[in-house]
Subunit: 135 residues, 4 copies
């Protein structure tokens, strides 16, 4: 349970894009920031740096971008489409790269499978809001 939907509805400024798409994007960003943080840690716990260095790195990077984007999309005052687009494009790209990498380890490491799922969801949620902004 998150409070994202209620926060959007109670903001004095109306959401600049479809509220459903926005809620899903914000929740997916924070969830993906958490999953990627946890997956980097789990990969460090696995102990095979030869195989997992790239996964750790992309997970840490992706967590940062998701966090920033989740906070930017949480703001409805003085919405700026260019700022939103810049963040959402970076986030969709980060999730794509990180999701691809995690997927390669998904068969042998369940945390990478779960994290890839979080990345795919976030990539798709960002792309949905991007479509809504661009039209």
């Amino acid at each position: 349970m998150t409070h994202a939907r209620r926060m959007i509805e109670t903001n004095p400024n109306e959401a600049a894009v479809d509220a459903e798409a926005l809620v899903e994007c914000i929740e997916a960003c924070f969830d993906c920031a958490q999953s990627c943080t946890a997956c980097a840690d789990a990969c460090i716990g696995e102990g095979d740096l030869q195989m997992l260095a790239r996964c750790i790195r992309l997970c840490l990077d992706c967590a940062e971008v998701c966090e920033a984007t989740g906070k930017i999309m949480s703001r409805q005052t003085a919405f700026d489409a260019e700022m939103a687009r810049a963040a959402l494009e970076a986030c969709a790209q980060a999730c794509r790269l990180c999701g691809d990498e995690c997927e390669q380890h998904a068969e042998h490491m369940e945390h990478c499978r779960v994290c890839a799922e979080a990345c795919r969801r976030c990539e798709s949620a960002c792309n949905n809001v991007l479509s809504a902004i661009n039209t």
Copy 2:
């Protein structure tokens, strides 16, 4: 829906504290970071700085601390009780201060009421994990 529980279960290192308490703490931290970010924005949108400057400020501060704590508690490798305690104590305190402030505006601004709820939940979730660590 978040992936926090699955990420904890699939980490090669067992959680240092009760998994239920940990999941709730992590989810509450990220949720509170989102609510506080959104509440600061909503307060700016209200336009009454005389009344809301302190609320905006504490919301922005609380969001930072919750974010940091949510990420720290997401790590299970080489768990350090002192580090966890430092973060959790700061987070419980930040949520208490921010929740108290939001509560004062809850009657007239629904976003402050919702945000206070997120702060209370997070304060309590941090305190629960603190108790589990200290025993």
Copy 3:
């Protein structure tokens, strides 16, 4: 004084781009994250929300993107050009938007003038690293 240069030099992996450009980019990102955080706060302190809501919002957004980018560029292990590019492009764009807005208030508010300077420096430092990556 920062430790950025020494941290780059002592990393077991060589920097993927020119070290001078990288140090400048990392330092500019963290400096701009600080300036934008402080400028949003100063604008709230000014009390003229009618005029400054957009500035506050863009400063808060820009701070997030700079922070994420500064951390991503601080990593030299398993460097990924696509991830770096996504972050740097978002950061250069955020700094451009925020710098433009701050500049409009620079005549009357010195904190906006100083913050615009930090944004310009960071935008330019990100673009320099982008050029180095793309060639």
Copy 4:
């Protein structure tokens, strides 16, 4: 070169504590966030997880706390001593733990020696502001 001092001086609200101590604290927090991010990455690049897992973990945690504290201390509007104290205490503690760990590897890894230096500086800068607040 950072813009921290100029941002403090141009804020419409006077700094709640000695400006020199505040500038040093803010700069040390952002610098330490960068060093710890880079040191975690360098440790991953070293490839000896047996020895460095704790160092990586504490560096990532410390970076989060420093970032949050640097942003909280950058705000001068509606200063709240309890919030500042909570953040500064967590930050001094995180820097102490991380600095101690890095110091243990300082002889063989220069990045840990440099990072320990950044941690010591930040711990001391936070403690200085704490003293100023408590008196």
